[in-house]
Every structure is written in C-alpha cells, then in structure tokens.
Amino acid sequence: MARLVLSEAHSDRVEKILRELLGKTGARCAILADISGQLLAVEGRVKGLDTTVLAALIAGNVAATAEMARLLGERKHFQILFHQGEEHNLHLGAIGTSFLLAVVFSVQTQIGLVRLFAMRAAEELGKMAPEWESLVMVPGASTQTVPEDFAQTLADELDNFLKQE
C-alpha cells in the first residue's frame, strides 16, 4: 500500500512553495499530486475547477507518457509535459518518480517563466517528499494518528452514510 501522510506543517510548507510559484509566474493555479492520482495540495484560483478529477487525469496522463518513454527506450520518464489550449496552458512536471506538479496558466503568461519556476518548486518539493513517504514507517514520528476505532465506527455508520437512492 502506498502510504502518504501530510502533517499540517507539511501542508503549510507545500502551500507556501506553490503560492510563491504562482506569485512569481502569475499562473492561475498549481496542483501537487502523486502518480496514483491523489491530490496532495492545491493553490490558486480553482473556483469551479474539479481539482480531484484533474489530479486523477494528470496522473493518468503522466503514467501514459511514462509508458511511451519506456517504449521509446528512454531511461527515465519524460520530465515535462505541456498541453497548449486556446485560453489555458497546462505544464506538468515530474517530481522524482512518485509525484507531479501541474501548473495551469493563461496563454498570456510567459511559458519560460512557468517552466523555470515550476522546476525550482519541483526541486524544493522533491526534497520534502521523503518526509511524507516515511512518516508512517517511523514509530512516533507522526504526532497525529488515526483514531483506534475508526474502521469500526465507519463500518457501523456505513449504512447511514451510503444509502442507495
């Protein structure tokens, strides 16, 4: 099971990195996700944007191109993907082998700027990543734990929560 734990301090640091990226580039929003499609953090203007679904699609996109890279005999994944639209561009960058940074920006925004600062943000995030991945492995490292009777309580209440309509 892939296990990731983001403490509040982690989230704060990640969000700060994403905000700086947006501040320096004027991009619309930035999304940090993992390759299984889970959304770790998002910053910027995301009203009306389904970031959960976007994270799932981004991960699928990157995973598909990783397979293309493999077929072409590349030793590593493609590090950057770029999608060009009429109003928005989407810049996707790999952070190591497990995480992805997506930046959505207007076509008026300078691509070079986004590329540069996205790369810097990815480097910083990449340095932090081992902490999220290892937290659960180290006993006592996480100050917060899942309540002991979480699964039992969920089982007891599942019929109330999940009603067929």
Partner: protein, 194 residues
C-alpha cells in the same frame, strides 16, 4: 492511501478490475446514479466511441467525518480489453483495495481466470503484497440465463476465504453490497497500517 491532517481527510483508492465487458463501468454508473450528489463527484469516463473503457473511469465518494477524519474513496475501473493491458497496471498503482468483477456467463469462465492471473502478475510487478491487499469478488450478470453456479466460479477463481457478492450491475443488485464490503475491508487495513 493519503492522510492529510490539515484537511483532516483520508484518501483511499479502490480499483474495479476484471475481464472485458464484465460490468466494471456499469458498477460505477450505478453507484453514481444512486448516491446522494452531495456524497459523490462527477463520473469521469475515458472511453472509446463504442463505450469501452480505454483508460479508466473515476468516481469519488466522500463520506461524513468519522471521529473527526473524513474518508474519501476514489473508485477507478480498468479497461478489460487485453488491447489496453498496459494501462491496467498504471491504474492499479497505489491502490488500497480491489473489487474483482467477474462475468458469470459460462463462456467467460476462462477469461475470468486469465484476468485474475493478470491481476496477480501486476500486483507482483508493482511490489504489492497480494496476501494483504483487500480484495472482494463480485460475480456479475447473475440475471442472465447462461451462467455458471457461484460455486464453480469460486473454485475456478480460487476464492476460498475471500468474500464474494452475486450481482447484476445493470439492475443494481449487489452493487452497493460490494462497495460497502470493499470500503470496510480497506478501512480495516488503515488501522493495521499505522
């Protein structure tokens, strides 16, 4: 699995796996159509013009807070067509539990078995421990006339202690039972993980 303490959320990924046309997408469509819209997101389907899954379907279910922690379940389906074999492994990445949707029709028996072997192979390639991964079987299309007995499917798929549900995804029987079973199995694992 992702726990975000700032948002007090726990994200869990469940993958519907199975042979071509066994009814994986139909399961998600039924769940989407029959849950309170407040508890679910949009159903996103990456499919061909013929409605066959080319990459995956995606649906997020969000339950109310349990002991101050809000569980979110991300449901995915894989493409059953062997033509898209490579993408199955991609979708399995980081999964916390699997629903194996088998097709109960007699002529699909061999295909069910082959897909189960393929699931085990993909798990192994991804470094996933098959013994500990939550797995629920669903014997779908039970409404059709030419089906094999559940016992036959059980034996063929080597379902011994693993729970299974008999279902008709088009009619909706067994769909929620299957979903609840995998949710509970996955949630039980969360506890032993931390």
């Amino acid at each position: 699995m992702l726990i975000n303490w700032k948002l007090r959320e726990i994200n869990l990924k469940i993958v519907y796996y199975g042979p071509a046309l066994s009814g994986k997408t139909t399961n998600l469509e039924f769940i989407h159509a029959h849950t309170n819209p407040k508890m679910r997101g949009d159903l996103v389907s990456l499919k061909t013009r013929e409605d066959r899954t080319i990459f995956f379907d995606f649906l997020q279910i969000e339950l109310g807070a349990i002991k101050g922690l809000k569980p979110k379940f991300q449901l995915y389906t894989v493409p059953g067509q062997t033509y898209y074999l490579a993408t199955r492994k991609v979708v399995l990445q980081g999964c916390d539990g699997v629903v194996f949707v088998a097709d109960s029709q007699r002529e699909r028996l061999a295909e069910n078995c082959a897909t189960r072997v393929n699931l085990l192979t993909n798990w192994r390639d991804l470094g996933i421990d098959a013994v500990r991964m939550p797995l629920i079987y669903q014997f779908n299309k039970c409404d059709l006339p030419n089906i094999v007995a559940p016992e036959t499917l059980r034996a063929a798929l080597q379902v011994d202690t693993t729970p299974y549900f008999i279902a008709s995804a088009t009619q909706g029987t067994g769909v929620f039972e299957t979903l609840k079973a995998i949710i509970n199995a996955v949630a039980a694992r969360v506890q032993t993980q931390i």
